[in-house]
């Protein structure tokens, strides 16, 4: 779905406060020296995180309050909340940003249920003891290792709008010549669908593997007991499988929704030179990058970044809330 560490968002929701350190027994004499070692051991990583995550994030908040232009000879001037006013309420300038938010929402609204259902379907299909099942699992997982830049290029050719595009050509043959060439990427109606399709193709294996692991933790006895009770396959699915992976399922769905807001690579590549309909597909991250990079407007891009972060935090908090009451394995 995105080539940028999907797993990072993944565990964010599961993060729990660490057990209090003092709960463990330890000799007081040791503790005195341990803080030196502990600090030394964690210093490189802490320094890196503060320098490259903490500081820039705080800086984004500051930048968003200024009129800062990349390369301009004018000094930055204080702008107050003007950037946010432009993003949300200005009748002219808010257009592209609000459209980007809407596009992200549409993307999430389709991808979350469809990709989760598809991943679950595949996981159930693959959760059996057949010969070569490992081979099938790898096949479905394989697209996950494809860099998104490459996925975008390959799908650009599949969805090409001439009648020689692969999809158009297949449909032409299937419909016995009734299908005319359709502009999958360029038409406002199908542009988003196209992006969704290629994103799901690349990302579903990831979710599938997580769900598969969840399925494998359901004790086999539960299924056997249900079978003894003459429960049908569908009944077993509803009453044993689903409750057994409820937590994992909710988790996967919320993870997917966070990832939906981080979409960038495929949209960027396909809009630039792929003929993708920009209005119907540009995302919040795309908006942030083009504002900073094409229009040199760092202040506004920082404001977009801050809004983006707030959305991700809300989704992550939701994720925590939903997942927490779940019994741990």
């Amino acid at each position: 779905m995105t080539s940028d560490s999907p797993a990072q968002a993944l565990a964010a929701g599961r993060a729990k406060a660490p057990p209090p350190a003092s709960a463990r027994p330890g000799r007081p004499g040791r503790r005195n020296r341990e803080w030196v070692h502990g600090l030394l051991m964690s210093a490189p990583a802490l320094a890196g995180l503060i320098a490259f995550v903490g500081v820039p994030f705080g800086y984004a908040v500051v930048l968003s309050l200024y009129n800062v232009r990349l390369g301009s000879p004018l000094p930055p001037s204080f702008f107050g909340l003007e950037q946010y006013r432009r993003l949300f309420t200005d009748p002219d300038l808010s257009g592209p940003f609000l459209r980007a938010l809407l596009n992200n929402l549409v993307f999430a609204a389709v991808v979350v249920p469809v990709q989760t259902a598809l991943a679950l379907g595949l996981a159930v299909l693959l959760n059996r003891t057949l010969k070569a099942i490992g081979f099938f699992r790898s096949l479905f997982f394989m697209p996950v290792v494809f860099p998104m830049a490459l996925v975008a290029v390959v799908w650009r050719l599949i969805l090409a709008r001439s009648d020689q595009g692969m999809l158009n050509s297949v449909l032409h043959h299937l419909s016995l010549g009734h299908w005319g060439a359709h502009d999958w990427l360029g038409s406002a109606a199908t542009a988003m669908v196209s992006v969704i399709a290629l994103s799901i193709w690349q990302g579903v294996g990831f979710q599938m593997v997580i769900l598969l692991a969840g399925l494998q933790q359901i004790p086999a006895e539960l299924h056997e007991a249900a079978q003894l009770d003459r429960a049908g396959r569908w009944q077993r699915f509803c009453h044993v499988t689903l409750p057994g992976i409820r937590g994992t399922l909710v988790f996967v769905a919320l993870l997917t929704s966070v990832l939906s807001f981080r979409v960038f690579d495929q949209v960027y590549i396909l809009i630039r030179g792929g003929g993708l309909n920009e209005d119907a597909t540009h995302t919040v991250m795309y908006e942030a990058v083009t504002t900073a990079f094409d229009r040199n407007d760092i202040g506004q891009a920082a404001a977009v970044t801050v809004v983006f972060f707030l959305i991700v935090v809300v989704l992550t908090l939701l994720q925590r809330r939903f997942v927490r009451p779940d019994p741990e394995d």
Partner: protein, 278 residues
């Protein structure tokens, strides 16, 4: 559960059909890379190539073979080097931090760990723009592409989860033998923690290998470009030569596929484990 031969055949059939549909785009990529360019975009009739040729691969290597355009193997080298630095550096730095914060007991360690969990909430995209502005002076260097990604809150979290589950008795024994925290960590804990090192390494590698947003912002010099960025540059060249672009794509994904083929189990465990154990 028992399965009749009929059901088993049916299972295979369903799986095979689905797998075939799923593999088609990848197949399209591989076949296309061996086709003459004018057959890449010739619909269904051109899907199966009439003759296979290595011409595209030779042409990619020939096209990217000068100081001004960059060298293909140089792009590959940059990608490999960045991956090596980010993965290996990340393993050392993040595992050490996880150990120092969760297995050593000192005042403030849990507060710092909580800070890391908090930073885990910030996806890279949320800091890309300010970081781009801050580090603009270091454009077009290898360091700016690698260093910000070595320390990784999620990796620390993964290591911490694993280290917490280790029995305390092991370290006690090491201590009785007179080992300090550093020796205990490097000589006792690391050898016991291969699974978590493998899965962190693989997840980091995948992310780094496909990394695109940051190079787009920070790199323009052909001698510092990683492969995915160069792919997007290469496909923007006019007129586009699709056979060559697909060959480039194969060369980009091949190293990951090879790693994947050899370490499949770790890939799957790495992904699955990070979620379920949490």
């Amino acid at each position: 559960m028992t399965r009749t031969p009929l059901r088993r055949t049916l299972d295979y059939l369903v799986l095979s059909v689905l797998a075939f549909i799923f593999v088609l785009p990848a197949l399209y990529l591989f076949l296309g890379s061996f086709k003459p360019s004018d057959q890449v975009l010739s619909g269904l009739s051109g899907f199966l190539p009439t003759h296979l040729t290595l011409h595209n691969y030779r042409a990619v290597l020939a096209a990217l073979d000068s100081d001004s355009t960059g060298y293909f193997w140089h792009f590959m080298g940059v990608s490999l080097l960045l991956a090596a630095v980010v993965v290996l550096g990340g393993l050392v730095v993040n595992s050490m931090a996880a150990y120092g914060l969760t297995r050593l007991r000192w005042r403030g360690s849990s507060a710092l760990f909580a800070l890391i969990l908090l930073l885990m909430l910030v996806p890279f995209e949320a800091v890309a723009v300010p970081l781009f502005y801050l580090l603009n002076g270091a454009r077009n260097t290898l360091a700016v592409q690698a260093v910000p990604f070595v320390a990784n809150a999620f990796s620390i979290y993964q290591f911490a989860t694993f280290f917490r589950a280790l029995p305390v008795s092991i370290e006690e024994a090491a201590r009785i033998d007179g080992a300090g925290p550093w020796r205990t960590f490097f000589a006792v804990v690391i050898p016991m923690s291969r699974p978590v090192f493998a899965s962190v390494a693989i997840l980091t590698f995948l992310t780094q290998w496909g990394s695109f947003l940051w190079p787009v912002l920070m790199v323009s010099d052909p001698s510092e470009r990683p492969l995915p960025l160069e792919l997007s540059v290469f496909q923007g060249q006019q007129p586009p030569d699709w056979g060559q672009i697909l060959a480039f794509g194969v060369l980009l994904v091949l190293p990951v596929l090879i790693v994947f083929a050899f370490f499949q189990r770790w890939f799957v465990q790495g992904v699955a484990g990070s979620a379920v154990k949490g």
